[in-house]
């Protein structure tokens, strides 16, 4: 818990999410609390959807904000900044190797265009019930790609994990019940 030391975007996000989790009713399923109250870790109680929605909105703002900002920043008009980032402190050995290959600049230009298109469209795709799974898969590919070049892999895990907040809680519960049949169908008010 040293998120405050660096003040990077993901540290801020993690700190903010940690604050949200305090009030999210996180102990209302898969918890010692439920085991003590209802005799099963799988028991669950209803909790407000507010925190889930806030996380989803924040993820939307993060993708959209970073994408829309790249449209306006002169440094991100072409691919030169991407090439520099392949040699900076976050660069992986693979990124250093790619940078040393002296690839034509149009390749970096193209990569930046793809990144911009993805970051701006991604949050809308996640909110769409029809397209959500496709965009989730795209998100996994995107972050896996980023992790190949930038050694900040925890960022990848957190963003992917947060995609679940775009689903309706009932939908998640139903899906979980197909995997873990012992999860009760209704919220527990008596020992499960």
């Amino acid at each position: 818990m040293s998120y405050h030391h660096m003040g990077t975007s993901y540290d801020r996000l993690f700190l903010f999410f940690s604050l949200l989790f305090v009030f999210a009713g996180s102990g209302k399923t898969f918890s010692v609390d439920m085991k003590r109250k209802h005799g099963s870790f799988l028991a669950w109680e209803e909790t407000s959807v507010l925190i889930q929605r806030i996380i989803a909105l924040q993820i939307t703002a993060t993708y959209f904000g970073v994408g829309i900002q790249k449209l306006g920043l002169p440094d991100w008009e072409g691919g030169s900044m991407l090439l520099l980032s392949f040699q900076d402190m976050w660069a992986t050995p693979f990124a250093f190797w790619v940078a040393s290959q002296h690839l034509p600049m149009w390749i970096y230009d193209g990569m930046v265009m793809i990144v911009k298109a993805f970051e701006i469209s991604h949050p809308f795709g996640l909110w769409s019930k029809r397209w959500r799974l496709w965009f989730m898969a795209g998100g996994v590919l995107f972050h896996a790609g980023v992790s190949l070049f930038l050694a900040a892999i925890w960022w990848f895990y957190a963003m992917i994990a947060a995609y679940i907040t775009f689903f309706e809680p009932e939908e998640v519960c139903e899906r979980m019940r197909t995997w873990f049949r012992k999860i009760p169908a209704a919220a527990s008010s008596s020992p499960a």
Partner: protein, 164 residues
């Protein structure tokens, strides 16, 4: 008290929606339309939607050298930071102090230098003093170095621009 919980929830939701929208507008327009809202708060929300925006062409890290028997020796700081290189560099920039008064920021580097002096002594490397530099993170590119802090005579040069 229980009856107040929905009120707090609504207040927090309003705060979140307002600040996130404001941060998005700031992201696009770069204008602080509500100057009475402290920059620290706006910066936090803006920061949550600005990953990888602050890239610069500068590739600097904190370098340290220790004086022993009249000559300066490079001190490898990496073993003190058990994390990936990006995080190492970010930790060494001590950003949580960077927005405070310059004197406070420099004082923190002075404290860090004293700590390294002690830790190096425990490892058997007895230095008379330690000097910090901002320089290339690649050890072989040391042409451009900027002295930041010399512990022995308290000669402190303020951090330069984006370096630290």
């Amino acid at each position: 008290m229980r009856r107040l919980i929905p009120v707090f929830r609504h207040l927090f939701l309003l705060y979140f929606l307002f600040m996130t929208s404001y941060a998005l507008v700031y992201t696009i327009m770069r204008v602080q339309y509500f100057p009475f809202i402290p920059w620290t708060i706006l910066r936090y929300h803006y920061g949550m939607m600005a990953p990888y925006q602050g890239i610069s062409a500068t590739n600097a890290d904190l370098l340290a050298e220790g004086l022993r028997e009249g000559s300066w020796h490079r001190i490898d700081l990496d073993p003190y930071y058990s994390m990936v290189r990006g995080s190492q560099v970010m930790y060494r920039r001590m950003r949580s102090f960077s927005f405070l008064e310059p004197e406070v920021y420099q004082q923190k580097y002075s404290e860090l230098a004293k700590k390294f002096l002690r830790l190096e002594a425990e490892r058997g490397e007895e230095y008379e003093s330690i000097e910090f530099y901002a320089g290339s993170m690649h050890a072989h590119e040391r042409a451009h170095r900027f002295p930041l802090l010399r512990l022995r005579d308290e000669h402190v040069v303020p951090p330069h621009g984006n370096f630290l």
